[in-house]
Amino acid sequence: MAAEEKLPAWNEIPPGGIIIEPGNAEERYTGDWRVFRPVINQDKCIRCLLCWVYCPDSVFHIIDEEYVTSKGRKYSFSLRIDYDHCKGCGICVEECPVNAIDFVEEVK
């Protein structure tokens, strides 16, 4: 967060630290927290969606895009990672049963 960002005064915020609008985690950009970035190998991926289940930040998006693997296996959808909110925790990398997610260092 930028240090010079102007924060609201005590009487400009809801009482008691209550968050009165739902779903505002999306407005919080956490993508720059990453040291390692998960990268999906669409060819190895078996679409089990365990990554989607385990991700604490809901960054796995199911994309309406067909994919045919090099071995000719056809899937009706693909997966994409929302890198604006992925913090790079690596849980998906750990949980993927077919090692289809690579963990790549952000800065080389």
Binding site: I13, P15, G16, G17, I18, I20
Partner: protein, 408 residues
């Protein structure tokens, strides 16, 4: 809020009630939705009576039986967060066990009301009265009223919801009274035949921020150093507002129902060199001790503190400003402080910045319900005049009536 109030047409029943039962009647008449409590002496009969009202169908409420006071207040808070009018009651160790949740109730700005039948703290175990439990909650951001009769207990619980649910306040309220000396004393109390006038005076505020699946919100967030302070300052402001809200709530109560108490109560302070300050049930004993003295021309008066938090500084200073010596009787000890009476300390700090001020003497008494009779009070009055003659109040609190300690 400027409202013209007509005296409500109320038919009152005059019932013999203990202060504990007076609380239960008020909870019934206020149509409280959820009660969660855990039994503890001397509070237990409050909740027993409420359970009876629910069982009889006189009160339509949810009673949650919990396994501790920590859970009792947590469940009460949860109900309040969901928008219900919620209530709990406790004393002593129970209030101590609730302590961390006290801050959560006020921090989440939930208008919970709780009654406290004040009792001494362990160890050693004492089931008897003093105000050690209540005074430990001083800095929890709960509005705190201390009543001195069963009627006032009933009336204060009614006022408490009115204050707590005020959109500009939204803080929890405690109504305290002497354990045993009031909680188990039967005396006449007027309660309405029909609770409509009570609900007209203290209508339920359902139109507030609450947990609602249709409109999700988040309560109990984590706030970093750049946010937390502002939320605490909001509580400071709300407490400040609560002072005038409490005054207005009492004034309007009086206009409607003919009974009012003010934030403080006084007796003969205009004409007194020595003023005795007390709170809770002790005030009545003080008045009966002083009446014959005043009749004989002794220049002595009394003041009772009814609103403890927020502290009514201006009211107190106005009442005590003419006195030469103010003797404050506290029923709690702040260990390690030279002036160990919490209310004495507060009154001293109220006057500190002023040029002209009375001498102030702090007396500790009634600890663990050590007996205080009218004779005890008159001995304190005699000693006060001795101190007045000497022209200097003791630098330390006097521990009145403790065996082995004598004050010259």
């Amino acid at each position: 809020m400027a409202v013209t109030v007509q005296e409500a047409k109320v038919t009152w029943k005059r019932l013999p009630l203990s202060s504990n039962y007076a609380v239960a009647y008020a909870v019934k008449d206020l149509d409280v939705d959820v009660i969660a409590a855990y039994p503890i002496t001397p509070q237990t009969t409050v909740v027993e009576k409420i359970a009876e009202f629910i069982a009889n169908g006189e009160l339509n409420a949810e009673m949650i039986h919990v396994e501790s006071e920590h859970s009792a207040l947590s469940a009460t808070i949860a109900a309040s967060a969901a928008g219900a009018r919620a209530f709990t009651a406790t004393a002593s160790q129970g209030l101590e066990l609730m302590h961390e949740i006290l801050h959560i109730a006020s921090g989440l700005r939930l208008p919970v009301v709780m009654s406290i039948a004040t009792r001494a703290l362990s160890a050693p175990i004492s089931i008897w009265n003093d105000y050690s439990d209540l005074m430990n909650t001083r800095d929890t951001s709960w509005i705190t009223l201390i009543a001195s009769s069963a009627q006032e207990v009933y009336d204060s619980i009614v006022q408490a919801y009115r204050i707590a649910e005020d959109p500009e306040v939204m803080l929890p309220v405690m109504v305290a009274y002497d354990g045993y000396l009031m909680s188990h004393t039967y005396e006449p109390v007027l309660v309405p035949e029909d609770n409509k006038p009570i609900l007209d005076y203290a209508p339920k505020n359902y139109n507030r921020i609450k947990l609602d699946p249709e409109r999700p919100i988040t309560m109990g967030t984590l706030t970093g150093p750049e946010w937390y302070y502002e939320f605490k300052y909001q509580q400071v402001v709300a407490m400040k507002k609560a002072l005038e809200k409490a005054r207005k709530a009492d004034e309007e109560f009086k206009a409607r129902f003919g009974r009012g108490y003010g934030l403080i109560e006084t007796f003969n302070v205009e004409d007194a060199d020595v003023v005795i300050v007390a709170y809770g049930g002790l005030y009545g004993t003080v008045i009966e001790a002083l009446e014959p003295l005043v009749e004989k021309g002794v220049k002595v008066g009394a003041m009772r503190l009814r609103l403890w938090r927020p502290f009514p500084v201006e009211d107190v200073k106005k009442a005590l400003g003419n006195a030469k010596l103010v003797t404050v009787i506290d029923k709690a000890i702040s260990y390690g402080a030279r002036i160990a009476g919490p209310v004495a300390l507060e009154i001293m700090s109220s006057f500190y910045q002023d040029e002209a001020k009375p001498m102030i003497m702090s007396i500790i008494a009634g600890i663990g319900q050590r007996r205080i009779t009218e004779d005890t009070i008159r001995e304190i009055v005699d000693y006060s005049f001795k101190v007045l003659d000497r022209g200097r109040a003791p630098e330390e609190s006097l521990y009145w009536g403790v065996r082995g300690v004598k004050y010259e």
